[in-house]
């Protein structure tokens, strides 16, 4: 690993005097072709701002994507990249990362790509704990195919393919990831570049499969899907920003979340009944807490009582350490090699019963 590149764009350069990389170094020469106003731009920009700050060389980063608007992402980042086929990015990235563990492999995917056609690969990459950063751009719609409901679209959604309303129940991506035993599960939003960058950085630092759901506005086919959480009028009331060790408060401190039996309850911190001390404190390593937070979803009557809407959590919901697939794979290979010695091809071919003819 080369010495660090300083701790920010325009930082002071590495030990050998080469200038530190900047955001520009990660911009390819390709014109970015997303629709003007698309949330993807902000995500791209956050990644390009983050990369120079990370402890890897430019050439060590690989972006692997599937199909959909998000799939174009690798073309715009000047690093190694592979724009693959629909849904398969986690599988392809698994082969790449497992066989080249020193690389930093990012998967860029969308709600249709990761949760519909590629659902199987996503859950298996998570359960195997392949050391990937998986960025799922969730816009709750099929954008590239011009607006059909997606596996995260809410029930009743009217789209080109559901003129009378979709009858499908949506996936909650965070719970899919938790269900697949992901070792890192986070949620962030395109409209909050600082938060997005901070969460991405945590996902990079995490050893193992890091799943990051990014609420992304598709202003063409599903404009405003997340405005409730992202726009300043409603964001304070509707978004809960999690920080490890900090109490779960929102609405500028006016409200908090407390445990009520086995469920969650919003409490008013401005009357005298409840105080911050009554609120839950976030602990990303707590699996049960992650379950509770993960269940906060627009359409879940079990969690969202009739008269109260729980705020949607953002930040690192769950994180745990467990061996990565690559570590296990290579430790096994090394162990066997140590025991049996480095393979000798001639000896292998002559294994078992041989006999000699003539001379």
């Amino acid at each position: 690993m080369p010495p660090g590149f300083g701790d920010g764009a325009g930082g002071d350069g590495s030990a050998d005097g080469e200038p530190a990389l900047s955001r520009k170094d990660f911009q390819s020469d390709q014109d970015v072709r997303w629709c003007p106003g698309c949330g993807d731009y902000a995500i791209l920009s956050a990644v390009q701002r983050l990369l120079p700050e990370l402890d890897a060389e430019k050439a060590e980063h690989v972006f692997v994507s599937g199909i959909g608007c998000a799939g174009r992402f690798p073309y715009y980042v000047d690093a190694y990249g592979m724009h693959t086929i629909h849904g398969r990015a986690p599988a392809i990235a698994t082969g790449l990362k497992a066989s080249r563990p020193e690389l930093k492999v990012w998967v860029v995917t969308g709600d249709g790509d990761a949760l519909s056609i590629g659902g199987n690969h996503l859950i298996h990459a998570l359960r195997r704990n392949v050391d990937l950063q998986i960025l799922l751009f969730n816009n709750e719609i099929y954008g590239l195919t011009k607006g059909q409901y997606s596996p995260t679209s809410e029930r009743g959604k009217v789209t080109k393919s559901s003129p009378y309303g979709s009858i499908d129940a949506p996936f909650n991506p965070v719970r899919v990831a938790l269900g697949a035993d992901a070792s890192f599960v986070a949620r962030t939003m395109d409209r909050d570049p600082q938060h997005m960058k901070a969460v991405m950085e945590q996902s990079y630092d995490h050893s193992g499969a890091a799943f990051v759901e990014i609420y992304q506005n598709c202003n063409i086919f599903n404009d405003g899907a997340f405005f409730e959480f992202t726009e300043k009028e409603t964001k304070p009331e509707r978004a809960l920003f999690l920080e490890d060790g900090r109490p779960m408060t929102f609405a500028e401190g006016a409200k908090g979340l407390r445990l009520d039996g086995l469920g969650l309850e919003v409490v008013d911190l401005e009357n005298d009944r409840w105080s911050v001390a009554d609120c839950l404190t976030h602990d990303a390593s707590d699996e049960m807490l992650a379950e509770l937070l993960g269940r906060i979803f627009w359409d879940d009557p079990d969690v969202n009582g009739d008269d109260q809407k729980l705020p949607r959590p953002f930040g690192v919901i769950y994180q745990t350490e467990r061996p990565t697939y690559g570590d296990l794979l290579h430790t096994q290979i090394e162990g066997i090699t140590e025991k049996k010695g480095t393979g000798d091809l001639d000896a292998l071919l002559r294994e078992g019963d041989t006999w000699t003819v003539g001379g």
Binding site: D29, I92, A93, G95, G343, L345, V357
Partner: protein, 649 residues
């Protein structure tokens, strides 16, 4: 090798020994009877006796079908001889039938006058009922015209083990050893290899080890003492080329070929695989060889198996996957991506009966079209087919070499018969394998503009004119392959993907002329593979003027043995028939038009409904007559002889 040599029999023994040029033995019984093991041990002994040989295991589709039923019959056929043995044998000389169902299933394969050795202990009403027989085949005329040898295998085995602590059930498990011993005696094969194998196999279970050895010897001695055999046989050693040999199954040979390719190229082997019959044996074999740096990845599905292999290839490793027909269908899209991204990738297809789930344990060559054409768009790729179990090694090695040299996916078509069949393999030396060097790109290959006029003022990868740049689609003039740049190499950062690529820069391009150009150049690149191929020579059984005649039988894959044996027989009858074997199905080797032109007629036997015949008609506009067999069993040479004779008489 062995301490006791039961072969040291009295020269005045009761039986005569007759020398045979060749013989075929078929062991058949319940899956639980250990027939595969018995067959393998007979094969091993035969190999030690230096016969040439070919084997055909025949597994039931059911894992453990009810005992005694016809659908539970597991068979193992071995053909051995002092001459060149190329097939597992058209007609069986000795059928060892452990129960009535085995007779019912396999009697049709036995030569009239051939020997049928039956385990009489299973020939009872229960056995007939299980086999769905109305009567005892010994009494209803079924076995008329065969030399029937009745042996009480179970009783004799129990008797042999009477002094031991073993339970009756445990004793009965050894009865296949009795049959093996008897078969070894009958064909004058050595017992030492099997005795030694038993010693190793049951090293931890001395009782079982001694029981099996004892029963095997008893079986051998039984041959000496019983008066049921007027003659015993011997097959002289074959005139094999000098060298060190082992018997090898095709599946093992494929795995070893991959390990060899990894070893010689210096690339780590990444093997993505999803369990599927009959390709799983390759995964089993490879997962044993991790000390060669082999990474085996059991993927969540066929698609991920292919995807992970391609991901590894992008990373600069040797990405390989194996499957069978249904799995190849699922890998199609990934293979298309490998074609577009121009990355090396090897796909082994162990063909089985199709379509759909088809006949998972039976052999067929039905995937030729799928391999050649089964992708969207124009996406040619090299297709190679080994012609025998041992050739699987060379073909797997070659597939890897072609993939890396031409930056392309390569499909290797094996089949159930090749994968499960075995034959003697003259072991190559690692140092004698064809050189396999991989040149990764390490430095920029352009200076800021593409240089072909198409993009002369473009800033390539952000580089201005004159600044060093890397063009991921700038091709080698020789092979037309694009450079392979491993991620991690500074200065060569680039992007690949499934969208059409602009020539040289590899940028996404929707330009009509560029798509035409790239489609053409991808096809031209695959054609360059012919540089590495030689024109195959017709086989005429040693006849002069084998390269011309009345009929040319053109074949591919596992049918080679049956076809060449048929040619021997046809030439023996004075007919001007030759055969041509194609190991490369795409691109076809150079010079074929001239070869074909020297024959009047053309016959193409294959285990499908005429796929190669259609390809050849298309390429050469000649009347290639298809001869298809899709019965889950390989061709016999007799079938080909008959067809060929009908065509020219």
């Amino acid at each position: 090798m062995s301490q006791t040599d039961p072969q040291a029999r009295s020269p005045n023994g009761p039986t005569d020994t007759e020398a045979l040029p060749e013989a075929t033995v078929l062991f058949a019984g319940d899956s639980g009877d250990g027939m595969q093991l018995t067959g393998s041990q007979f094969t091993l002994a035969t190999a030690h006796a230096q016969s040439d040989l070919a084997t055909l295991p025949d597994y039931p589709a059911e894992i453990r079908a009810p005992a005694g039923t016809t659908y539970g019959i597991s068979g193992f056929q071995v053909h051995f001889g002092s001459g060149n043995v190329r097939t597992p044998g058209d007609a069986v000389d000795l059928l060892v039938a452990m129960n009535p169902a085995a007779v019912k299933v396999h009697l049709s394969r036995v030569e009239r006058g051939g020997t049928v050795l039956i385990n009489t202990d299973a020939f009872n009403d229960r056995g007939f009922k299980l086999a769905d027989l109305d009567a005892d085949p010994r009494e209803d005329g079924t076995l008329e015209g065969y030399h029937v040898v009745e042996v009480e295998l179970s009783k004799l085995t129990r008797k042999a083990l009477s002094g031991t602590e073993l339970s009756t059930q445990e004793m009965d498990r050894s009865k296949n050893m009795f049959a093996l011993g008897l078969a070894l005696w009958l064909f004058s094969r050595p017992t030492a290899p099997a005795l030694e194998w038993i010693g190793e196999k049951f090293a931890d279970k001395p009782e079982v080890r001694e029981a099996n050895r004892h029963v095997l010897k008893k079986g051998y001695h039984y041959g000496e003492t019983t008066e049921q055999f007027a003659t015993r046989y011997d097959v002289a050693p074959a005139d094999l080329e000098a060298g060190t040999y082992r018997t090898i199954r095709g599946a093992e040979a494929l795995a070893l070929g991959l390990v060899a390719a990894s070893d010689r190229s210096g690339l780590d082997l990444f093997y993505g695989s999803y369990p599927i019959t009959p390709a799983s044996d390759i995964l089993h074999e490879l997962s044993r060889h991790k000390n060669f740096g082999v990474m085996t990845f059991q993927a969540e599905d066929e698609i991920a198996a292919a995807g992970s292999a391609l991901g590894a290839s992008f990373g600069g490793q040797l990405g390989v996957c194996a499957t069978s027909g249904p799995g190849l269908a699922l890998k199609t899209e990934t293979i298309g991506l490998a074609t577009m991204t121009e990355l090396p990738m090897v796909i082994l297809d162990v063909q089985r009966g199709g379509p759909s789930t088809g006949l998972p344990t039976k052999t067929e060559q039905g995937d030729l079209f799928q391999a050649l054409y089964g992708r969207n768009g124009d996406a040619p790729l090299p297709v190679i087919a080994p012609d025998g179990p041992a050739d699987c090694f060379r073909a797997a090695y070659e597939a890897c070499r072609l993939a890396c040299t031409y930056m392309t996916p390569v499909i290797l078509l094996a089949d159930v018969y090749l994968a499960n069949g075995s034959e003697p393999w003259k072991l190559p030396k690692a140092a004698d394998l064809p050189p396999f060097e991989v040149d990764f790109a390490t430095a920029p290959n352009a200076n800021g503009h593409a240089g072909d006029g198409s993009n002369s003022d473009a800033h390539v990868n952000g580089k201005k004119n004159g600044e060093a740049a890397f063009l991921p689609y700038r091709r080698s003039g020789e092979t037309l392959a694009r450079p392979w740049a491993r991620p991690g190499t500074p200065g060569l950062e680039h992007r690949v993907g499934g969208l059409e690529k602009e020539a040289e820069t590899g940028d996404v391009s929707y330009d009509p002329a560029n798509h035409q150009h790239m489609t053409d150049v991808r096809a031209a690149k695959i054609q360059r593979v012919t540089r590495d191929l030689e024109t195959p020579e017709p086989y005429g059984g040693g006849a002069e003027n084998a390269d011309e005649g009345d009929l040319l039988v053109t074949a591919w894959g596992s049918t080679r043995g049956a076809v060449e044996t048929a040619v021997d027989r046809l030439r023996g009858r004075g007919l001007a028939v030759s055969s041509l074997h194609l190991r490369h199905l795409w691109p076809l080797p150079p010079g074929l038009a001239d070869v074909f032109a020297r024959f009047e007629r053309h016959l193409v036997p294959e285990q499908n409904n005429g796929q190669l015949a259609r390809l050849l008609r298309d390429e050469f506009l000649l009347d290639f007559r298809p001869f298809g067999k899709v019965q889950g069993q390989p061709f016999t040479s007799g079938e080909i002889v008959e067809k060929a004779e009908a065509m020219i008489s």
